[in-house]
């Protein structure tokens, strides 16, 4: 699984990254987490409110920090 956390580097963005990392660990999923902070890259994903989480190319959430329960639900599928 390929997880991308998009965000220029504000407090909320690193929180989103932490939650995704914790969820991956808890679910025991095989996934790579990549933090994308380049604006050009973020914009290319069609995302314009951050933080956003993209899993395998699919946008899962924008403009908010996901809760761990949400993150776990995405990892299950």
């Amino acid at each position: 699984m390929d997880i991308k956390v998009l965000g220029p580097g504000c407090a909320k963005c690193s929180e989103a990254e932490k939650i995704m990392a914790a969820a991956v660990k808890e679910a025991g999923a095989e996934a790579t987490i990549e933090k994308i902070s380049d604006f050009q890259q973020i914009a290319k994903h069609g995302v314009f409110s951050t933080p956003a989480v993209v899993i395998d190319g699919q946008i899962k959430c924008v403009g908010k920090v996901p809760s761990k329960a949400e993150a776990l639900a995405w990892l299950k599928k």
Binding site: A43, S49, G63, A69
Partner: protein, 350 residues
């Protein structure tokens, strides 16, 4: 948190829930109305301080204002948190795309109040708006209004300085956002956007609208309270403590000579000092309160507050990634001029 919490099931506003909400609101008011008598009881009767003494007046002021402002903040942030769950940046963009300029500027400034916005999102949001066909000036109206006119600033102004000042701030803040955005639009600055921005493919398709239940909206309100009140309470208490000290000890009119109405140069100087500074509303309103009590003129102080919140050096650095220096200079110049005009206007009419 259990994962079952997130299985989407539409929760209706049942009678029981509505009654519970009303009861909570009534309780809030009951407590709120008791704050002043309670602060008097505590400072004058229990601690035995005299209402005429400086320490008595300062303590009672602090004991009344702190819970008052925090309670107001919690209530408003909760309400705004729920309102914001109806407005996403995606929806705002859809509303603004293709609007004519004047109408677009007004709508953008108004939507700036209710659309969730974090200053670190300014650049992605700018790209998202401009590439979707929102006119440049309209985008700027949004970017000026969103950080400057917000519920935290309004609650603090209302709690510390009264509803008239809060209303003036709301009205003139919107005015600056609308007019500055409109002027920037008229100047035709589109070629001063970094060229890579326009080359980005506009993904017009928005994400599928997720089912949002009332449960989610109430949760959004609760989360907003925890997040925002958890972050700003320390500023509020520090600011009120300073205000209480000034209230009790500093003679009135101490600042009248340099920041009063008589000093015509004080408005531009206040704005020039405020532009590079950055603070959020929670940090600046207590300072405003202190300056006013010492005799500074309202227009000068509000202009200072607006320039600190609306324009900042970190924001310029971040906007440089999408805007060429000329456009950044125009943006700062137009907004600062608007704020200076507002400052003079207040000093003139009040």
């Amino acid at each position: 948190m259990s994962s079952s919490e997130y299985t989407p099931h539409p929760v209706r506003l049942t009678l029981g829930r509505s009654l519970l909400a009303l009861l909570a609101l009534a309780l809030w008011f009951a407590v709120y109305l008791q704050l002043e008598p309670f602060s008097r009881l505590l400072s004058y009767d229990l601690l035995g301080l005299s209402p005429k003494s400086r320490s008595g007046a300062a303590l009672q002021f602090f004991l009344y204002d702190t819970p008052k402002v925090l309670m107001l903040l919690a209530l408003i942030v909760y309400g705004v948190g729920i309102i914001r769950s109806f407005f996403t940046p995606e929806k705002t963009r859809a509303i603004l795309a293709g609007k004519s300029e004047a109408v677009g500027n007004v709508l953008a400034a108004l939507l700036g109040i209710v659309t969730p916005f974090c200053s670190c999102s300014a650049v992605p949001l700018f790209i998202g708006f401009v590439t979707a066909g929102v006119p440049l000036g309209v985008t700027f109206s949004f970017l000026i209004s969103a950080p400057m006119v917000n519920e935290i600033a309004l609650v603090l102004l209302y709690g510390l300085l009264g509803w008239k000042v809060a209303a003036l701030y709301l009205g003139t803040g919107l005015m600056v956002a609308i007019v500055a955005g409109w002027v920037i639009g008229r100047l035709g600055m589109e070629q001063h956007i970094e060229s890579w921005v326009m080359e980005i493919r506009t993904s017009a398709e928005t994400e599928p609208e997720k089912l949002i239940t009332w449960e989610d909206r109430f949760r959004a309100g609760r989360e907003a309270v925890v997040e925002i009140v958890g972050k700003v309470w320390i500023y509020v208490i520090a600011g009120i403590a300073v205000g209480a000290g000034i209230h009790g000890y500093v003679p009135e009119g101490a600042l009248a000579a340099i920041m009063g109405k008589g000093a015509w140069w004080s408005v531009p100087v206040a704005v020039l000092i405020g532009v590079p500074m950055y603070s959020n509303a929670a940090g600046i309103v207590p300072v405003v309160h202190a300056l006013l009590e010492k005799g500074a003129a309202l227009g000068t102080v509000l202009a200072f507050m607006m320039s600190v919140i609306a324009l900042s050096l970190p924001e310029m650095v971040i906007l440089r990634k999408v805007l060429r220096p000329t456009l950044i200079a125009v943006f700062v110049g137009v907004v600062a001029s608007g704020i200076i005009l507002v400052g003079y206007l207040f000093n003139f009419i009040i």
